[in-house]
Amino acid sequence: MGILEVKNVGKRFGGLQALSDVNLSVAENTVHAIIGPNGAGKSTLLNCLVGKLIPDSGSVMFDGQSVLGRAPYEINQMGISRVFQTPEIFGDLTVLENMMIPCFARRDGAFELNALPSVGSQKDVMDQAMHMLEEMRMADKRHMHAAAMSRGDKRRLEIGMCLSQQPRLLLLDEPTAGMARADTNNTIDLLKQIKAERDITIAIIEHDMHVVFSLAERITVLAQGTPLVEDTPENIKGHPKVREAYLGESA
């Protein structure tokens, strides 16, 4: 039984069957990649996991509990954090404030009217945030406006923000999209380090095969809204059906 169990999930947008009969099981403490050509339904599937979309049929269980019908913030509080394709951070706030917000969310829950003490007096949250910034090697940038940072730094910050909530499942939506090779390699190293240092399950949607084969322990190939095959990276590489669907080669 995996930490994330997706059973018979279907989702329809008007005339388009985006997902049909998707089954997926992500085992605890593994890195599981979901790959597939454009329009295969990868992002739709991810949106169904985090509460942005509600599937028409099927079930999504996280750690034995259904996530369906819950708001995104509730699903996050259950232990699922999501990194977006384009980094979603608080651009108007400083880097330190960005890092403090998830720490507050972890300490105080979805809402807390903490309107009189100053931010500076919240030492526990401040320490946690600084600790995570140091781990992400961006402590020296803490007073910068987050929007002013480079794409790679924004990505690191976003990953750090997700980690500071200590999620059990980290979802990454094409974390290296639009990145230069060097930044991509840095991100791979960062994710490897994260995986090595803590008990965390990572599910990653990725286009870049270099990233997928560097990180993944299991790979699910999605094509036209249905899982084609699920296997280890070694077996996927040579799988004829995958080559056909993904690379457009005839088997």
Partner: protein, 400 residues
């Protein structure tokens, strides 16, 4: 001091000094001199400065921090005024229960309106609040004013009549709003040479309340709650996916700013025991938006500056008439004098809104951060000029 850092403490002290010494600062010209019409240190106007300051400080907690632009905040001001006058009618002219009830009623009212309006964001939120405010105006103006159930006294406005119960009223107490016997209208006149300064009890009550409210606003701005409100403005998507529910945060900000508005409404009634429906009209809601943007949305001192600025222009510019203009331009040849008066005429008296509109346009275009940004640029410019004249030339600011 008081849980604030050094910078905020000095800001609070400056505001305290300015409000306490306002009767001096606003009356720089000797009474009876030609410039005396620019004096703003009379009780009515000073009261309005601080009351609208409170209104704008509260509005800024919602608009400046979360970016939710409410076009209906005058409804809470009006509700506050009506509640206060009802307290005068039922209990006594003491302002404490009146102000307390105005805050409570405005809080409940804003909870209701906010709960519905905050289901949408952006322009739809603004339209919803506008619709609610206009409904409240209609209710106050006609619906809730009929012989069977007269809550607002319609067009005439709600006021205190001799046959009202006023159960705690004693003959020894003044027959107008008072604070435990101290009439809000009692004014001490200080004459120094040609100058005359008014120290009004009502003004000082409002000023002290404004300082407390300003202090509270600083605390809110610097708190984790304030940071969450800025996060709402910056990226709601990330907030949702960080386990935070933006809705209660925005609703709390809405209710807090509604309470500030109710307090301002209550104080208005406490200075002059009358409440009319026009206080709730959309122009009144628009005015507080102008004040906040003109002063600098999202800054601490901006809304207070904006409120003072607009109220000053409203009262001073609208009092200038053609006779005064003729005096000013009398040094010019006759034809030219009439021509100048003709040119300036549309901008004064009832036309002061035109002046305000132009000023607002200039500020929004050249100083998007409002008067506060203007002050910062001026400060920077002066500092740079000290460094060297050549450098200053390249840093010339268009709006100065």
């Amino acid at each position: 001091m008081l849980g604030l850092d050094k910078k905020d403490t000095s800001l609070l002290i400056i505001v305290a000094i300015l409000t306490l010494l306002a009767p001096f600062i606003l009356n720089p010209f000797p009474a009876g001199s030609a410039m005396a019409q620019f004096n703003a240190g009379y009780p009515d106007l000073m009261q309005r400065f601080v009351i609208f300051g409170i209104f704008a400080i509260g509005f800024n907690i919602l608009f400046g921090l979360t970016g939710y632009l409410s076009f209906g905040h005058a409804a809470f001001l009006g509700v506050g005024s009506y509640s206060a006058v009802w307290m005068f009618k039922l209990l006594s002219y003491n302002v404490i229960p009146a102000i307390a009830l105005s805050v409570v009623v405005a809080a409940l009212f804003s909870l209701l309106i906010g709960y519905v309006s905050l289901r949408r964001s952006g322009i739809y939120f603004s339209i919803l609040t506008l619709a609610f405010a206009q409904m409240s105006f209609a209710l106050a103006y006609s619906v809730l004013s009929n012989p069977k159930f007269n809550l607002t006294n319609g067009e005439t406005g709600l006021q205190v009549y001799a046959d009202d119960p006023q159960i705690f009223h004693r003959d020894s107490l003044p027959d107008m709003p008072h604070l435990f016997g101290l009439s809000m209208r009692s004014t001490y006149k200080l004459d120094i040479g040609a100058w005359s300064f008014d120290f009004n009890a009502g003004y000082y009550l409002c000023a002290v309340i404004m300082m407390v409210m300003f202090y509270l606003a600083i605390r809110i701005f610097r708190s984790p709650f304030g940071m969450m409100l800025r996060a709402v403005k910056s990226n709601q998507q990330r907030m949702n996916y960080t386990g935070l529910n933006p809705r209660p945060y925005t609703l709390a900000a809405f209710v807090i700013s509604g309470m500030y508005a109710g307090l301002a409404g209550g104080l208005m009634a406490a200075m002059d025991p009358l409440a009319g429906a026009e206080r709730m009209q959309w122009t009144a809601s628009g005015e507080v938006v102008l004040m906040t943007i003109l002063g600098g949305a999202g800054t601490l001192i901006g809304p207070v500056l904006g409120a003072g600025f607009i109220k000053y222009f409203e009262n001073i510019f609208s009092k200038i008439n053609d006779t005064i203009l003729h005096q000013w331009f009398s040094f010019l040849p006759d034809g030219l004098e009439d021509f100048m008066v003709f040119i300036v005429h549309p901008f004064i008296g009832k036309g002061w809104h035109l002046t305000l509109g132009i000023l607002f346009m200039l500020v929004v275009i050249f100083l998007p951060g409002g008067l506060v940004e203007g002050g910062q640029r001026l400060g920077k410019w002066i500092r740079n000029r000290g460094k060297g004249a050549a450098e200053a030339k390249t840093k010339h600011e268009p709006a100065e």
